[in-house]
C-alpha cells in the first residue's frame, strides 16, 4: 500500500468519532485506488449510523458500494476482493448481524493465509457498530469482541476516542490480514482532538489514559470513559486509579497491563460483553499466569455485562452493563479490603 506510515507533525482539530472514521476512509480512498467501501445503505443513505456520510458523492458508487441485505454474500465478496488484490472496508449495520457472515469471517478470512501456506492473505477491514445504550434491544446491542477475539487469524480492535478511531482504522488498512473494528454506537457523536493527515494507532498497544497507584482498571470502548469518571470520583476519597484503555482485544498488550498491575497490586477489568468467558476473563487469567501474580494484593475483579440478553427497557438496559457507580463501588470495596 502506497501510503506514508509516519505522521508529519500534523495539526489537529475537534472531530466526532464518526467524522474521524469518515476522514480516515476518505484519506484511504484518495490515496489508494485499491480501497473500496462496501455495506448495506452506506451509499446515498450514508450508513445506518451516518459514518460513511457523503463519501459516495466524493468517490462514486463504484468505490462506495451498497450491497444487498445479505451479510454472508457481502462479506464473501469483500473477502474475495481482498484475496484478489483490493483493500475493501466492509461495514455491518450492527455487529450483531455479523453472525450471518461468520463463515466468511472465521472460516475464510481468518484461515486462508494459513491454509494457502502464506501464498495469499486477506487484507479486509470489517467495521462493526457494537454495544448497548441506544434502546435497540437484544438483537442490536451486543458486545461480541470476545467471539472474534477467540479466532486466530483475526485482529480485533475497539477504539474509545475519535483519535484512535481514525488511527486504528488506518492501521487496520495497512495490516495485511483481516481486522475487525468494533465501533461503539454511543461514541459516534463523541468529540475529541483528531490529528490531520495520515497516521496510525498501533494495533496491540494499550493506552494508559490516567496514571494511578492504588488500583488498575482495564477497560475498553465506552467503559474507558466510565472508568475515568469513576477514577475522578474515587480520587475524592484519595484512591488513585490507573485506567488502561485496552484498545486491542487481539492481540492483547500484555506488557502494559502486567507493568501496571505490578505497580498497583490490584486489578479490575471492566467490559461491556457478557462477563463469563469474556475479555476480562482472559485478562484475569493472563495476569494470574504472569510475573504480576506475585504483586497481586487482592483478588482480581471483573465487571462485565449481565448474563442476559440486553433488555429493551432503558433502565434495565443500563443495569445490564457496567456503569460508573458500580465501578466506584467495586474499587472502593477492593481498596477497602472488603473483597
Amino acid at each position: 500500500m502506497n501510503v506514508p506510515t509516519t505522521v508529519e507533525k500534523p495539526g489537529s482539530r475537534e472531530l466526532s468519532y464518526a467524522e474521524a472514521l469518515r476522514e480516515a476512509m476518505g484519506l484511504a480512498l484518495e490515496r489508494d485506488d485499491r480501497v473500496i467501501l462496501m455495506g448495506e445503505d452506506i451509499g446515498v443513505y450514508g450508513g445506518a449510523f451516518q459514518v460513511t456520510g457523503d463519501l459516495v458523492d466524493r468517490f462514486g458508487t463504484d468505490r462506495v458500494r451498497d450491497t444487498p441485505i445479505s451479510e454472508l454474500g457481502g462479506a464473501g465478496v469483500a473477502v474475495g476482493a481482498a484475496l484478489t488484490g483490493l483493500r475493501p472496508i466492509f461495514e455491518f449495520q450492527f455487529s450483531d448481524f455479523a453472525m450471518l457472515a461468520m463463515e466468511q469471517i472465521a472460516n475464510q478470512a481468518a484461515k486462508l493465509r494459513y491454509m494457502l501456506g502464506g501464498e495469499a492473505s486477506v487484507p479486509v477491514v470489517m467495521r462493526m457498530p457494537g454495544g448497548s445504550g441506544t434502546g435497540a434491544a437484544a438483537q442490536h446491542s451486543q458486545s461480541l469482541e470476545a467471539w472474534f477475539g477467540h479466532v486466530p487469524g483475526l485482529k480485533v480492535v475497539q477504539p474509545s476516542t475519535p483519535e484512535d478511531a481514525k488511527g486504528l482504522l488506518l492501521a487496520a488498512l495497512e495490516d495485511p490480514d483481516p481486522v475487525i473494528i468494533f465501533e461503539h454506537k454511543m461514541l459516534y457523536k463523541m468529540k475529541g482532538e483528531v490529528p490531520e493527515g495520515w497516521y496510525t494507532t498501533p494495533i496491540g498497544k494499550a493506552a494508559i489514559r490516567r496514571e494511578g497507584t492504588d488500583v488498575t482498571i482495564v477497560a475498553s470502548a465506552i467503559m474507558v470513559h466510565r472508568a475515568l469518571a469513576a477514577a475522578d470520583e474515587l480520587a475524592k476519597d484519595g484512591i488513585s486509579v490507573e485506567v488502561i484503555d485496552l484498545r486491542s482485544v487481539r492481540p492483547i498488550d500484555r506488557e502494559t497491563i502486567i507493568a501496571s498491575v505490578k505497580k498497583t497490586g490490584k486489578l479490575v477489568c471492566v467490559y461491556e460483553g457478557v462477563r463469563t468467558l469474556g475479555v476480562g476473563a482472559e485478562i484475569s487469567a493472563m495476569i494470574a499466569e504472569s510475573e504480576a501474580f506475585d504483586f497481586l494484593d487482592a483478588p482480581i475483579q471483573r465487571l462485565g455485562g449481565a448474563e442476559a440478553p440486553i433488555p429493551y427497557n432503558p433502565e434495565l438496559e443500563k443495569a445490564a452493563v457496567p456503569q460508573t457507580p458500580g465501578i466506584v463501588d467495586c474499587v472502593r470495596k477492593l481498596v477497602g479490603g472488603q473483597v
Binding site: 497490586g265 504483586f295 497481586l296 494484593d297
Partner: protein, 450 residues
C-alpha cells in the same frame, strides 16, 4: 508405618517448644514409655516419653530448635520395619491439630536448626491466608507469615500488613531469644495532640432499616466482624468508632456527657431520616443509652451487650491493662480476662488486636479517657434512669462469666427488657460466640421490626 514423634502441647498457651536434649540417639532402640527427650517452654522444662517401641530415626529437631506444637520432630520404626525416606507427614494422621505454619527463622534469630523449617514445611496443613504480594514481600524481608496478623477479609495478610511488620521489626530489633521476658521499661506518657474532624463512621450498603453499632472501650469497629458475618444481614450496617478509638480522631473530654456529645454529633451527622436499631457493647452500651435518652424518636430498638453505666463496679485493671499494653505479650493476659474461657482468645486474636493498637498516642488517649470515665476504678456515670425511660424494644445480652462488668448489673433492667444471660460467656460474647449473639439480635430485630 513408623510412629510420628511430635512436639507436644504441655501447657495451654504454648504454641512452640524447644527440644533441650534427646535421651536416645538416632538409630538407637527405645521402649514405649521411656524418656525420649526433654522440652523447654517459656514456663517449664519437662520429659517426654516415647510414644512407641522401636528405633529412633529422622531426628529433625536438634537441641535448641524451636518447633511449632504438633509438628513432627522424629519417627520411631518398629523392629524389622524398613527405614525409608522421611515420611510425608501430610499423609499421616496428625496427633494434634497443626497450630500454625512453621516459622522460618528471621535473619539474626538464633536457635533454629536449619533443617527444621524445611522438614516441617511438608506437613504444613494450615497455610496462612495471604495475598501473593504479601507472600513476595515476606520472602524478600525474611519474615514469616505465621508471625503476621492479617487485616484483610478472613484474616488475609495483605501487603500493608507486611509493611507494618517490617516497620515494627525496624523499630524493635529482633527480640533476644532467651526465655527471660524482656523487661519493659515504663514508657513516658506520650503527649498526644487533640485531633479535629468528625468521628469515623463506616457503612455497608443494604436494604431495610439500618443497624447502628457502637463498640466498647479499647475496641473498634473491626471488633464487630465475627458478629457481622454470623448475622449475615441484608440491612445497612453503620459502625461508629468512638473518639480516640479505631480511625476516629483522638480527643480530650472533661466528662461522660462530653464524650456522649461527640458521639451524638456523629450519630446526627449520619443523616438518617427513619429510626434505626442500635446495637452497642460495654462503654458503647452506656453511650447508646445516653443517645436513646436524647434521641428517642431516632431509635427504634436497642440491643445492649454487657453495657456499662448500670452500676459502679468495673474491672479497671483489665481496662487499663488493655489500654496500656504496648506489645502482644502484655496485651494477651488482659484480653484473656475478657472471655469466659481464656482459650477463646487465640494468639492470632491478640496479634490482630495489637496491630490496631500500635499507635502510642491512641493508647495514651484511651488511658486518659479511662481516667475521666473510670476514676478510681469506678463507673462514674449512671444510665439506670435512662434505661427506665426507654420505650422501645430492648434486649440485653450478658455473659455470666463477665469479669469486667458484673452481669448482675443486668438486673437493673425492668421486666420489659429481654435478658439473655449466656452461661459460658465473658465480657465479649459477640466475639466469643458470634453465632449465638447474632441469633439473639436477629430475633430481637425481627420483633422490633413488627
Amino acid at each position: 508405618m513408623p510412629t510420628e514423634v511430635i512436639m507436644p502441647k504441655v501447657d495451654m498457651d504454648m504454641d512452640r517448644g524447644k527440644v533441650s536434649v534427646w535421651h536416645v540417639a538416632e538409630g538407637e532402640t527405645v521402649e514405649k514409655g521411656a524418656a525420649l527427650f526433654d522440652i523447654e517452654t517459656d514456663k517449664a522444662a519437662m520429659e517426654v516419653e516415647a510414644p512407641a517401641s522401636g528405633k529412633l530415626h529422622h531426628v529433625l529437631a536438634q537441641p535448641g530448635a524451636d518447633v511449632p506444637v504438633g509438628h513432627p520432630i522424629a519417627w520411631i520404626y518398629a523392629e524389622g520395619e524398613e527405614v525409608g525416606a522421611i515420611p510425608d507427614a501430610a499423609d499421616m494422621p496428625a496427633a494434634e491439630p497443626r497450630q500454625e505454619a512453621p516459622s522460618g527463622s528471621a535473619p539474626g534469630a538464633e536457635g533454629s536448626a536449619p533443617n527444621v523449617p524445611l522438614a516441617v514445611s511438608a506437613s504444613d496443613l494450615d497455610r496462612p491466608r495471604a495475598t501473593p504480594a504479601a507472600r513476595r514481600m515476606v520472602r524478600a524481608a525474611g519474615l514469616d507469615l505465621a508471625d503476621i496478623s492479617g487485616s484483610g477479609p478472613h484474616g488475609r495478610i495483605q501487603a500493608a500488613d507486611v509493611e507494618r511488620a517490617i516497620e515494627a521489626r525496624r523499630r524493635a530489633p529482633a527480640p533476644p531469644p532467651s526465655r527471660a521476658p524482656e523487661a519493659v521499661e515504663p514508657s513516658a506518657p506520650s503527649v498526644w495532640a487533640d485531633q479535629s474532624g468528625a468521628l469515623h463512621v463506616s457503612r455497608s450498603k443494604g436494604e431495610g432499616r439500618p443497624l447502628v453499632m457502637i463498640h466498647g472501650f479499647a475496641a473498634d469497629s473491626m471488633g464487630w466482624r465475627p458478629f457481622e458475618q454470623a448475622l449475615a444481614s441484608r440491612r445497612p450496617l453503620i459502625r461508629i468508632d468512638l473518639p480516640s478509638h479505631g480511625r476516629s480522631p483522638r480527643r480530650r473530654f472533661a466528662s461522660f456527657p462530653d464524650f456522649v456529645r461527640s458521639v451524638r454529633e456523629a450519630f446526627d451527622a449520619v443523616g438518617l431520616d427513619e429510626p434505626v436499631d442500635l446495637l452497642a457493647h460495654s462503654l458503647g452500651g452506656a453511650v447508646a443509652l445516653a443517645l436513646a435518652d436524647v434521641r428517642p424518636r431516632n431509635i427504634a430498638s436497642l440491643a445492649l451487650i454487657a453495657p456499662a453505666g448500670l452500676g459502679p463496679q468495673a474491672d479497671a485493671e483489665t481496662l487499663l491493662g488493655i489500654a496500656r499494653a504496648s506489645r502482644a505479650e502484655s496485651l494477651a493476659p488482659w484480653l484473656k480476662r475478657l472471655a469466659g474461657s481464656p482459650d477463646a482468645i487465640s494468639w492470632d486474636f491478640v496479634k490482630a488486636a495489637m496491630v490496631s493498637r500500635e499507635d502510642p498516642d491512641l493508647r495514651q488517649a484511651q488511658l486518659d479517657l479511662a481516667g475521666v470515665l473510670f476514676p478510681d476504678g469506678t463507673q462514674s456515670f449512671d444510665l439506670s434512669a435512662a434505661l427506665d425511660r426507654l420505650e422501645v424494644p430492648t434486649t440485653m445480652i450478658w455473659g455470666r462469666r463477665d469479669m469486667v462488668i458484673p452481669w448482675q448489673h443486668a438486673l437493673r433492667a425492668d421486666g420489659t427488657v429481654a435478658l439473655h444471660l449466656l452461661r459460658e460467656s465473658g465480657h465479649i460474647p459477640h466475639v466469643e460466640c458470634p453465632a449465638t449473639v447474632a441469633g439473639i439480635v436477629k430475633r430481637h430485630l425481627e420483633c422490633a421490626g413488627r
